[in-house]
């Protein structure tokens, strides 16, 4: 896919170079971790260990992996409810994430948040939000604080194609450009918002163009190719960190599973899903590059998968063994005690 963009950016062009072996292996491992983690979460949901809503990221792994690879320590990340992989990408512990999914004491929110609401100050992950579009204004505020402090950091706000129609997105775009805030808006266009295909909800379906009237550059990227994502992210990062204000990246991607666990998925065909899965899978793509580039053998990759599975199984075990929160936890954390 050739990448489309709205305008030349003022950022210095970063030279396009293919990723080396270590980098490719890291992408492969990170994406595999997300996939196996989500598969396990789906399984635990089926067993009744995870309840409520549970939105899986399977199929979209290249997006967060490629973006995070271009960030620096101290940059902030915020997203919606489809957030498990983003937390793993921020370096949060799979055990703590899984234990939050099961609502246990060992979870990142001590069981009080659930799948949609986890946070880590330490890893600069700001949630985990259930109200569609909220993270866009919040992410703009994170960037505002960076600008205010002049700390050279930036924030990344991830949101969906459906969220892209919320009014507060455009209120945020306007302020972000008005004050040239260091914010990268990553639209994860997985082509559906629940059962609504983009063209049924958006008058302009090329979402990277949504910043034009605010003067925010936008670019459409093949979100199934982690290397393409990383390259685009580097450009956006250079732009934002260079004091040029916000940048929009529209990632064309796809979710394989239902919107959440209770989605009968009648709005798309099985064939459509299978086609993407067998021809455009982000993990298979990197696997192919690793093997064809003679960076790794099938056996090495299998061993890596085994390692990843072991970590995920350990996380699942922890999430089952961790006790339910103490009843006294019900009344804590409502207000900061002063």
């Amino acid at each position: 896919m050739t990448s489309k963009r709205t305008s030349k950016t003022t950022a210095a062009k970063s030279a396009v170079k293919a990723a080396g072996k270590d980098e490719l292996l890291q992408y492969y491992r990170d994406m595999l971790m997300m996939r196996r983690f989500e598969e396990k979460a789906g399984q635990l949901y089926g067993m009744g260990l995870i309840a409520g809503f549970c939105h899986l990221y399977i199929g979209q792994e290249a997006v967060v992996t490629g973006i995070q690879a271009a960030l620096e320590e101290g940059d902030q990340v915020i997203t919606g409810y489809r957030d498990h992989a983003h937390m793993l990408a921020c370096g949060m512990d799979p055990k703590g994430v899984m234990a939050e999914l099961t609502g246990r004491e060992g979870g990142y929110s001590r069981g009080k948040g659930g799948s949609m609401h986890m946070f880590s100050r330490e890893k600069q992950f700001y949630g985990g939000h259930g109200i569609v579009g909220a993270q866009v204004a919040l992410g703009t505020g994170l960037g505002f604080a960076d600008w205010y402090k002049g700390n050279g950091k930036l924030s990344v706000a991830y949101f969906g194609d459906g969220a892209a129609n919320q009014g507060q997105v455009y209120e945020s775009f306007n302020m972000a450009k008005l004050w040239n805030l260091p914010v990268i808006y990553v639209i994860e266009n997985n082509q559906y918002a629940m059962g609504t295909a983009v063209k049924r909800a958006s008058s302009e379906i090329e979402l990277y163009k949504r910043g034009i009237s605010f003067g925010i550059p936008g670019e459409q990227v093949d979100g199934m190719d982690v290397e393409a994502v990383k390259r685009a992210a580097e450009k956006a990062v250079a732009h934002a960190r260079g004091g040029n204000g916000p940048y929009i990246l529209e990632m064309k991607t796809y979710r394989y599973r239902g919107h959440s666990m209770s989605d009968p998925a009648k709005y798309r065909t099985r064939e459509e899903v299978d086609d993407i899965r067998s021809h455009h899978d982000p993990i298979d793509l990197i696997k192919k590059r690793l093997i064809e580039g003679k960076h790794a053998s099938e056996d090495e990759l299998k061993a890596l998968d085994k390692d990843v599975k072991a970590i995920v199984n350990e996380a699942a075990q922890f999430a089952k063994d961790s006790p339910e929160p103490d009843p006294s936890e019900l009344y804590t954390d409502v207000l900061v005690e002063v």
Partner: protein, 467 residues
């Protein structure tokens, strides 16, 4: 080692389902991601994908089996290299309720009057419905889910008035996120059943504008949690304009959707807004419990010349109740309903809490306390006459609501009875409500946080000094 495939839970509230179809047979090789079966829940038919790979050794549940419990084994996979034919079925017999029951679960109870549909509540609701003067003698009762009753109300109003239309996220092609608008698109087409983008503030305002200009919108919020995006238009544009325009500009609109806690969906998706909207002059606020009220009050809300906030509850959508089979079932907004008569204590409740109040009344009856249960049905206007009259008889009151207590519905009712029946009270009014914290996700904490039957029983005993 062989792997058991368990009946998956496909939604937050699913406890059992029908194994509609197997897409695999014994001996097949499956890979993770393969569709292995189709499962029907009360909301939808869903495909189940394999998460493990292997060879199908045994199918433990026959196609078409109803009532398969979540987490019971439905098939066994042999892993790579294992002999599938040697795999043993688990000795514990799979629990499958009789699948030869010839009556479909949702079929109306034949004859109506004799059988109490909808379990525990059926009896209570039937008894009070029978004494309801609005239903002619001999009217046939049809067992209907709350979900379908709401749909029927919209469909009937759309048939009689072309200015009525339904708008919201996933209401048309997807048939409603909770399937309340099922079938409406087919009958009325995309002009009148409108899928919106996710843009609540925008479409709520659009709805208000359309109402100003002569239409009667029914705006569905996927849940009322998302109406917070739109509350400015509900209050500033819909509720206040008639007044600000000196009576010129009415706004006949219904804002409806599920309100309150669902099941384990966390703080941002579990908020009861009853007292918020009931606080606002210029709105009517309705919160029905059973299917007959849901239907009759929604039809009234659509016909009402004012903005009506119509609060439903996800956890009772699937419950069935008798609905009178009459030509045009419309109920008055603003009238409470005595669902159970009693002499010792009055219990007020609305929406899902009515079911809890009725159960509490049964328990109290066993202990010799006769409770009168008032289903508020409408929070604005609030039927204070019915409440005050009841308190004058029982001399005690417990006000139950699902939401937070502070500044709540119960606080208002307590103030009303204190002002209007002070001399009749034998105990201070008691309130039952959610704990004063955002709703936690963890199962044990969620349970501790939400008010239940026991809390009502306890409060009723306390005001009766029966501890």
């Amino acid at each position: 080692m062989s792997i058991e495939i368990l009946m998956p839970a496909l939604s937050p509230t699913m406890e059992e389902g029908t194994l509609a179809k197997w897409n695999i047979k014994e001996g097949d090789t499956v890979e993770s991601g393969d569709v292995i079966a189709e499962i029907e829940t009360d909301k939808a038919t869903m495909e189940v994908e394999a998460v493990e790979e292997g060879v199908v050794a045994k199918l433990l549940v026959a196609e078409g089996t109803e009532g398969v419990k979540v987490n019971s084994p439905i098939a066994i996979l042999a892993e790579d290299g294992e002999d599938a034919s040697a795999v043993e079925a688990p000795s514990a017999k799979v629990e499958t309720p009789a699948s030869n029951d010839e009556t479909p679960v949702s079929a109306p109870a034949s004859g109506g009057s004799g059988s109490a549909a909808g379990g525990d509540e059926g009896g209570a609701s039937k008894a009070s419905l029978a004494s309801d003067p609005e239903i002619p003698e001999g009217t046939k009762m049809v067992s209907t889910t709350v979900r379908d009753a709401l749909r029927d109300a919209m469909a009937e109003e759309m048939r009689r008035d072309d200015t009525v239309f339904v708008m919201g996220e996933e209401v048309a092609e997807y048939q409603g996120a909770y399937k309340v608008t099922r079938g409406l698109l087919d009958e009325f087409g995309p002009r009148r059943v409108v899928d919106t983008p996710i843009t609540e503030h925008g479409f709520a305002g659009l709805g208000v504008g359309a109402a100003f200009n002569g239409l009667r919108p029914v705006v569905e919020f996927m849940t009322f949690n998302f109406a917070m995006q739109a509350i400015d238009h509900i209050i500033n544009s819909a509720a206040k304009t008639l007044y600000m325009s000196g009576g010129q500009m009415g706004c006949p609109i219904v804002f409806r959707g599920p309100n309150g806690a669902a099941s384990r969906v966390g703080a941002q998706h579990s908020h009861d807004y009853s007292s918020w909207y009931a606080n606002v002059p210029g709105l009517k606020v309705v919160a029905p419990y059973d299917a007959a009220d849901a239907k009759g009050l929604l039809k009234a809300a659509i016909r009402d010349p004012n903005p009506v906030v119509f609060l439903e509850h996800e956890l009772i959508y699937g419950e069935s109740f008798d609905v009178p089979d009459v030509e045009d079932w419309v109920l008055p907004i603003g009238k409470a309903k005595v669902r159970r008569e009693g002499t010792d204590v009055t219990i007020t409740a609305h929406s899902r809490m009515v079911g809890f109040a009725l159960k509490a009344a049964e328990i109290l009856a066993e202990e010799g306390i006769s409770a009168e249960v008032i289903d508020l049905r409408s929070l604005r206007p609030l039927d204070t006459d019915t409440i005050v009259q009841s308190v004058k008889k029982t001399n005690r009151i417990v006000c139950a609501e699902e939401g937070w207590g502070r500044m709540g519905v119960g606080a208002e009712i307590a103030a009303v009875v204190t002002a209007e029946a002070f001399d009749y009270l034998d105990a201070p009014p008691a309130r039952v409500h959610q704990e004063d914290v955002p709703l936690p996700y963890a199962g044990n904490l969620e349970k501790l946080s939400l008010p239940g039957v026991d809390d009502i029983v306890k409060a009723a005993k306390a005001v009766c000094y029966a501890e």
